[in-house]
Symmetry: C2
């Protein structure tokens, strides 16, 4: 395992244990058995390192979108969407703690925001990717013409992100599978 | 203005300036011109103080829900829901930084979670309140029978919470009013 991967693993572990606030580069470097100077050779700052954790260690969303894209026009659409909803929920449950920690730290947030803008990245992109898939399904006649694919993607992803955050704060009364089925059924009803 | 209100104002200001991580009781007490001991007479801990900020200084959601409840069966339902969506977006944009900061700090999160459970509170309650209103509108025939009111409430609130979080990270391409109209139109289409 290379140094870069060791550092990303150590960062993920530190975020899990101490939160973003306590995941200092000193702590991360020590856990990765490297110097802080070496850490900064691989990552310009905490922003870049946390982005790598999000993109490289919490990969449930990209493969789930790919699977949904490859399944356009095939199989049972409601079942495909319920499966995707479960994967999105799983991804956001892990990502929420990182995103939240960044949000709760104004200087880190400012750096993170600049970095995303510079690289044309952002947490809104998965909504756009889902909207494109829904548009393709609509063109194939499997989604009602009255649905705006962009709005439907915002609603579905938003519900998953919100629920993932809620589960950190409270024990929800209903189980995820029942919830996912009712969300998909209500949103895509014909 | 009483001491309690001064402390809550100071906490809101400190969260805005330094984030949850930097909003120490020392800093808050100094800003409120009181001792830390006096702060702890009013609030058992940061958890209670931050909850008071959420409930007493960011009140856009409760009045918006009341307005929607009082409007059941009256006026233009889509317009009422679009107005509510705007208010929810406004509330969550301010609340996201507090919720995120709590999420990013595991010990604070654990305390916050226990406190919510003890008082039967939680960020899922507004979804339940919205679901009841939607159920009443459905019984009055203004919402399609195929809609599950609980699922629709999850979708609408989730989309608002997600978008509010996204706006902290990136400049979104579409404006809020257009977005709110398309969300309501897609979700409640007949």
């Amino acid at each position: 395992m290379g140094t870069r991967d060791r550092i990303i693993d150590a960062a993920e572990q530190a975020i899990h244990e101490y939160g973003i606030a306590g995941a200092t580069t000193k702590r991360i470097a020590k856990q990765a058995a490297c110097s802080e100077a070496l850490l900064y050779k691989h990552f310009a700052g905490k922003e870049e390192l946390f982005l790598a954790v999000l993109l490289e260690r919490m990969p449930a969303l990209a493969p789930a979108l790919t699977r949904l894209r490859l399944g356009v026009g095939q199989g049972d659409l409601a079942a495909n969407l319920v499966e995707f909803t479960g994967k999105a929920l799983e991804f956001y449950t892990r990502a929420a703690a990182v995103a939240g920690g960044v949000l709760g730290d104004p200087p880190l947030m400012a750096g993170f925001r600049s970095m995303l803008a510079k690289h044309d990245l952002g947490p809104h992109l998965p909504i756009q990717a889902l909207a494109e898939i829904l548009r393709a399904e609509q063109q194939g006649g499997r989604i009602a013409p009255g649905i705006d694919p962009g709005a439907a993607a915002s609603l579905l992803m938003g519900a998953c992100f919100h629920r993932a955050t809620l589960t950190h704060f409270v024990d929800l009364p209903d189980d995820d599978a029942t919830w996912a089925a009712s969300i998909v059924q209500t949103l895509f009803r014909r």
